[in-house]
């Protein structure tokens, strides 16, 4: 799954550690999501979208639609 997490994070000037603390997950989780190697659970995807004030679709896109 493609995602805009690195862009959204960098727009806020946040480190991966800062984002992980905001979401209550490990830094490795953020790294894995950004690399597209880990698809977050639905609750985590909602938290990410809410944190950046956007929708899930704006953050995550299926690879065939990206």
């Amino acid at each position: 799954m493609e995602n805009a997490l690195p862009t959204l994070r960098q727009e806020r000037g946040w480190s991966q550690q800062r984002l992980a603390e905001e979401l209550g997950v490990s830094r490795q989780t953020v790294i894995s999501i950004e690399r597209g190697r880990f698809d977050p659970s639905l609750p985590l995807a909602f938290r990410i979208a809410r944190l950046f004030g956007t929708s899930i679709e704006a953050v995550f896109q299926p690879e065939d639609e990206a």
Partner: protein, 153 residues
């Protein structure tokens, strides 16, 4: 989790349900007691030229596992420094789940093949050896699979 809670976190954490009792303050003496009991029971039950030596060896070698066991049972994970608020959403949980699923399949496969081999050859092995073997296969498979998943990121 608020900053005050985060500041109260310690390396070894606190006992669940207490105001602030360090987990190690309970785990170490309890582990020592359990190890001493294991050593005493071993010395009394195992027939050996030197029961005292057997008791010391068993007691000494089980101190660390017993301390770790008591600590794991008592500690409040939220009081550990570096613990994440939502471990169920972290990638490490997904790695463990995948590793455990794979280890289950590996264990079934190995036990099946070993059972077939023993049935065909007529060999007989001690039950304790067999159970230790199953345990090692399951733990080894889970550990290796977890490390591979972590390496892949």
């Amino acid at each position: 989790m608020d900053a005050a809670t985060t500041d109260r976190r310690t390396r070894w954490g606190r006992v669940r349900g207490t105001a602030g009792t360090p987990a190690m303050a309970i785990a170490i003496p309890a582990g020592l007691l359990l190890a001493a009991a294991a050593g005493a029971v071993s010395a009394a039950m195992i027939a050996a030229p030197s029961p005292l030596l057997v008791g010391l060896a068993i007691g000494g070698s089980t101190v660390a596992p017993f301390v770790a066991l008591v600590w794991a049972l008592l500690v409040d994970r939220d009081s550990l420094r570096g613990a994440v608020d939502r471990p169920e959403d972290s990638v490490e949980g997904a790695w463990y789940d995948r590793a455990a699923q794979g280890a289950f399949s590996d264990t079934i496969l190995v036990v099946g093949l070993a059972t077939a081999a023993l049935a065909i050859t007529g060999l007989r092995i001690d039950v304790v050896v067999a159970l230790v073997g199953v345990l090692l296969v399951a733990m080894g498979s889970c550990g290796v699979r977890y490390l591979v998943a972590r390496r892949r990121g």
